[in-house]
């Protein structure tokens, strides 16, 4: 075990960094995607509702690994099929897109549920004072919705972090992928995967502790 840490320690830490980079990038985009589709599903515009529902259902209905293959291999192949050569996506680009789309669909549901949990009267009171739908949503409904959404967002954050391991299949040098490399070099299955597992566990534990603090602060005094 110690020999693995001695030899591969920096590599593992770098891989952890890649995992976190992919998680954060995906989460950032996922929040934007979730906002857009979540808000589409909240309003009463039928076209928007349909677009939102189709997106959420489509992405949730496809395994992440298939989505990753599709984006990393499928899309460049399709574009080359159109006669445009030289188009490639890096593993980070493809991984970020796949994970953002996946996480975005769940985020859309979290945001929709959060907004719908706010009493209808809050929007009505805002509108009765002359605020536009957008202003009432932004100033009155969303600030209250965020509170109920925070635990689910934290949960999604952790799921997304763990899902990065799936992207080892497209060769992104994140933690699980590097674990495979180390295992191939050393043949120490037990030790390697124990170390990788503990690394995930430590990071996720720290993140959930920090997140709990944030949650408590947001809820304080109400």
């Amino acid at each position: 075990m110690l020999s693995i840490i001695n030899v591969y320690g920096t590599m593992l830490l770098r891989a952890l960094g890649q995992t976190l980079l992919l998680t954060l990038l995906s989460l950032l985009f996922a929040i934007v995607i979730g906002m857009i589709f979540g808000l589409m599903n909240v309003g009463h515009n039928r076209v928007f509702n349909m677009i939102g529902t189709v997106y959420v259902d489509a992405v949730r209905g496809v395994p992440l690994i298939v989505l990753a293959y599709f984006i990393f291999f499928g899309i460049p192949a399709g574009i080359q099929g159109l006669g445009i050569t030289g188009f490639r996506l890096s593993a980070l680009q493809a991984g970020t897109i796949a994970l953002s789309m996946n996480c975005g669909a769940y985020m859309a549901e979290i945001i929709r549920a959060g907004i719908e949990s706010v009493d209808r009267g809050q929007m009505e009171a805002g509108r009765s004072l002359g605020l536009t739908y957008g202003a009432a949503m932004r100033l009155i409904v969303i600030p209250q919705a965020v509170r109920t959404m925070i635990p689910s967002i934290i949960n999604q954050f952790i799921i997304t972090l763990k899902d990065t391991s799936i992207l080892s299949v497209i060769g992104f040098p994140e933690l699980t992928n590097v674990g495979k490399t180390i295992m191939g070099n050393t043949f120490k299955n037990l030790q390697t995967w124990a170390i990788v597992g503990v690394m995930y566990l430590v990071v996720i534990t720290i993140l959930s502790k920090v997140a709990k603090k944030v949650e408590r602060r947001v809820n304080r005094g109400r």
């Binding site: 009493d119 009267g121 009505e124 009171a125 805002g126 509108r127 004072l129 002359g130 209250q144």
Partner: protein, 246 residues
């Protein structure tokens, strides 16, 4: 544009929820400074009528003109018209994430009707009027029902509306808190505010209303002075309803 001098002009208003006809054919005019009280059994359409006035419910048919603005016309800027119509809800609907002061100043400051400082001064004046000047920094969850409703009235008044709509403002209150809210409303009526009030408080109607309207089944069944409708009703359905609530 139908500008006939009325503050509120409703002509042949219809409202359906799906197949359910809630308002069938409502015509109603309210003059400036008039206090109109709507009574009737639940499901009679009185709250829906009130909510149509500021278009929280869009009318299915007919016309509503507020201060010369046809709010049933799609081209009317409803947000502009709503700034002049205060509304008080049964469940107060204070913004739970904001304290009393921010509840009151949010809309006028955001809509650039007042500067922040001016809005705060105005809010303090109104809070004094409703007897809650010491609650400016309190959050809604720290207030009693009666206090919440008085803040809600003050919040609506902060916009300096010409018309106030009250949707069962005392129905969600404990009995001992009804009086404090009605007192604020009575004072408002005395000052000449145009008011449309949906309520089950027959005593309030008798004392304050210029006109009482009895609704049932989406129609106005009977209307007149409180004396006429409450003490000497002509319609059998009015008599029946009053015998149950008095």
């Amino acid at each position: 544009m139908a500008d006939n001098g009325y503050k509120i002009h409703v002509a042949n208003l219809k409202k359906n929820f799906g197949k359910l006809e809630v308002l069938r054919d409502i015509s109603l005019d309210v003059q400036e400074g008039e206090v109109v009280v709507l009574i009737g059994p639940s499901g009679s359409g009185k709250s829906t009528l009130l909510r149509c006035l500021n278009q929280l419910e869009t009318a299915t048919g007919g016309q509503i003109v507020i201060d010369g603005h046809d709010v049933t016309d799609k081209h009317t800027d409803i947000n502009k018209v709503r700034q002049n119509i205060g509304m008080v809800f049964q469940h107060f609907n204070l913004f739970n994430h904001l304290n009393v002061m921010d509840n009151m100043t949010l809309a006028p400051v955001h809509l650039k009707i007042m500067k922040k400082e001016q809005a705060r001064e105005e809010a303090l004046k109104l809070l004094r009027r409703v007897g809650l000047e010491d609650k400016a920094e309190a959050y809604p969850s720290q207030l009693s029902g009666g206090q919440k409703q008085r803040v809600a009235i003050a919040r609506a008044l902060e916009m300096k509306p010409d018309i106030m709509l009250f949707d069962e403002p005392t129905s969600a209150l404990d009995p001992e808190m009804v009086g404090e809210v009605l007192a604020v409303m009575k004072e408002l009526a005395r000052e000449g505010m145009t008011m449309v009030v949906v309520t089950h408080e027959i005593g309030f109607a008798r004392e304050v209303a210029n006109r009482v309207i009895f609704m049932e089944g989406g129609y106005i069944v009977e209307q007149g002075t409180p004396d006429e409708v409450l003490l000497h009703p002509k319609e059998p359905r009015t008599i029946d309803f009053l015998s149950k609530v008095l």
